[in-house]
């Protein structure tokens, strides 16, 4: 009887952990979702921008201690938030000088061949970032240790890791802010229009290339913030991007490629699945479980579970 009780407790504990991690994953996926949605580009380097977000947070909070005056609670949060604009700027420049050459209004309507050059270009960027990270940051796994990383709130037998809970709440807030930006502001609507129909967008006077640049910067910036939030509970090294790019694509595909809201739910579900899988799978196979889920989704429901996909008129 007692055993059963603990089994149930374990299960719910895993669900809570999954939701908390999943919130951050959701935000991460939203970043990727914007890029795919607007530019129709598969960005392989997305995981590496997340990695940059983690290191930027680390150096702001622990490494150089610039933010130490904010104390152990606010510091990491501010650090993660600041990683956003920094990575936004990197993404902006990268698009301006590299990606714009192989993407944009001209290529978007082209047949598959144009897309391959984009994918391969982002693969090159991913290799440079990951290995450049190795050069700059070294291979020692790091994490942003805060007092909250090991503390938990206990509510009704369940433990809520403090750092994860804070990250979860912030991830939701950022996701909501982004959602409002895309649905309420003129600039956000312009991005959606460029995503929906780039040709028609050009006809109504939208600069599609500029929209792509903003979307790319925004997408990698958001993912970097999510990375920064994750950094206080997850140890990382420069190669972490390759694992997370699959995690992110699993989320985005699950949510329906092109749907930004769907990407959030997709990421949340992936986090949940990952944590629940620890109940019956060895720790090392967590990622394998995600890859298998990813493949299953892609085979059986490529249009995703949450998003609505309109045939392009």
């Amino acid at each position: 009887m007692d055993e059963l009780k603990w089994l149930v407790v374990d299960f719910f504990q895993a669900v809570i952990a999954g939701l908390l991690v999943g919130g951050t994953y959701g935000l991460m996926c939203v970043g990727l979702g914007i890029i795919f949605g607007v530019m129709r580009v598969v960005n392989f380097a997305q995981g590496d921008f997340m990695m940059l977000g983690m290191y930027i947070t680390y150096y702001l909070v622990t490494g150089f201690g610039v933010l130490s005056f904010l104390g152990p609670f606010v510091g990491p949060v501010v650090g993660a938030t600041l990683a956003g604009p920094v990575v936004f700027a990197i993404g902006w420049l990268l698009h301006r000088y590299l990606l714009a050459r192989v993407t944009g209004a001209r290529v978007i309507s082209a047949e598959a061949e144009g897309h391959y050059t984009q994918i391969i270009m982002t693969l090159g960027v991913a290799l440079v970032l990951a290995n450049g990270g190795l050069i700059l940051f070294g291979s020692t796994p790091l994490s942003v240790q805060t007092p909250m990383s090991r503390e938990s709130w206990e509510i009704a037998l369940m433990f809520f890791n403090q750092a994860r809970t804070v990250a979860f709440v912030l991830a939701i807030l950022f996701a909501i802010a982004l959602y409002l930006f895309l649905t309420r502001s003129d600039l956000g609507k312009t991005l959606r229009a460029a995503a929906d129909n780039p040709i028609a967008a050009a006809y109504v006077g939208i600069d599609v290339d500029r929209s792509h640049r903003i979307a790319f910067g925004l997408g990698v910036g958001i993912t970097a913030i999510a990375g920064g939030l994750l950094a206080s509970t997850q140890s990382f090294q420069p190669y972490i991007g390759f694992d997370f790019v699959i995690v992110m694509y699993a989320g985005v595909v699950l949510g329906g490629m092109g749907s930004i809201l769907g990407a959030f739910w997709g990421g949340l579900t992936i986090g949940l699945a990952q944590q629940v899988s620890t109940l019956f799978l060895p720790y090392q196979l967590q990622n394998t479980a995600i890859f298998v889920i990813f493949l299953l989704i892609i085979f059986f429901r490529p249009q995703g579970m949450f998003g609505r996909v309109w045939e392009r008129a």
Partner: protein, 235 residues
């Protein structure tokens, strides 16, 4: 207002437009008719800057249009309502119209313009919060025209507004186009396969075949021209 001289466009080795010239005067209704593959849509895409011509010139209000980047052409007061409607399917009707008024002029007068458009097409007012992708073909066409009008254009270019629509809806659409032309004083350049409707409405018409202008003239000369009838029915 718009003047095209000896325009040539090629795709690969194939000439899509050959020595095409055309004039649109302020306040006129000009129609270009012709069969599939004649190059009508290419002509429009060249005016909008999506296609770059091999030779020839386009002047708009005395300005060389070819040096203006595509997304700036809308700012000059040219609205292109594309073939196949091309509405923003995942956005609401209102958002589509707002996107239409992205230009400086449109943004400044947005509220006023949108009210006028919704009056023009009451069905769009009814469906204002519906996603454009869920509209019927005719409603999407009205939305596309509305989106074009939302930039407060001086020149409205309509690319086959009748495409794939049932005859009664086509009649309604042409009725609206005529109304816009007459009551709002918008200059209209229309490309159509439905020869009758197009020629009926226009002040001036052109017949485009295999990339060449084969016939041009006023409303009266074209409407009674036997060659037009022959070309489209083989009789």
């Amino acid at each position: 207002m718009l003047s095209i001289r000896s325009l040539e466009v090629s795709y690969g080795g194939l000439k899509a437009l050959n020595e095409v010239s055309l004039d649109v005067e302020e306040g006129q209704f000009v129609a270009v008719v012709g069969p599939n593959g004649a190059g009508k849509t290419t002509l429009f895409k060249t005016i909008s800057g999506i296609v770059t011509p091999a030779a020839g010139e386009i002047t708009y209000k005395g300005k060389n249009l070819l040096t203006v980047p595509p997304n700036q052409r809308a700012q000059l007061g040219i609205a292109h309502v594309p073939e196949g409607r091309q509405v923003f399917a995942s956005m609401t009707v209102m958002e589509n119209l707002e996107m239409g008024s992205c230009t400086r002029k449109g943004r400044a007068r947005r509220a006023e313009l949108l009210t006028a458009i919704l009056e023009l097409f009451p069905i769009l007012a009814e469906r204002r919060n519906q996603l454009a992708g869920t509209l019927s073909g005719g409603e999407q066409q009205m939305l596309a025209i509305g989106r074009g009008l939302a930039s407060a254009p001086d020149l409205l270019m309509l690319d086959e507004p009748s495409m794939g629509l049932a005859p009664t809806i086509v009649d309604a659409i042409f009725d609206r186009i005529e109304f816009i032309h007459r009551n709002h004083g918008v200059t209209i350049l229309l490309v159509e396969q439905r020869v009758a409707e197009a020629l009926e409405l226009c002040d001036r018409g052109y017949v485009l075949e295999t990339g060449r202008m084969v016939l041009e003239g006023s409303h009266d000369t074209l409407i009674s021209n036997a060659r037009v009838k022959h070309a489209y029915l083989g009789m």
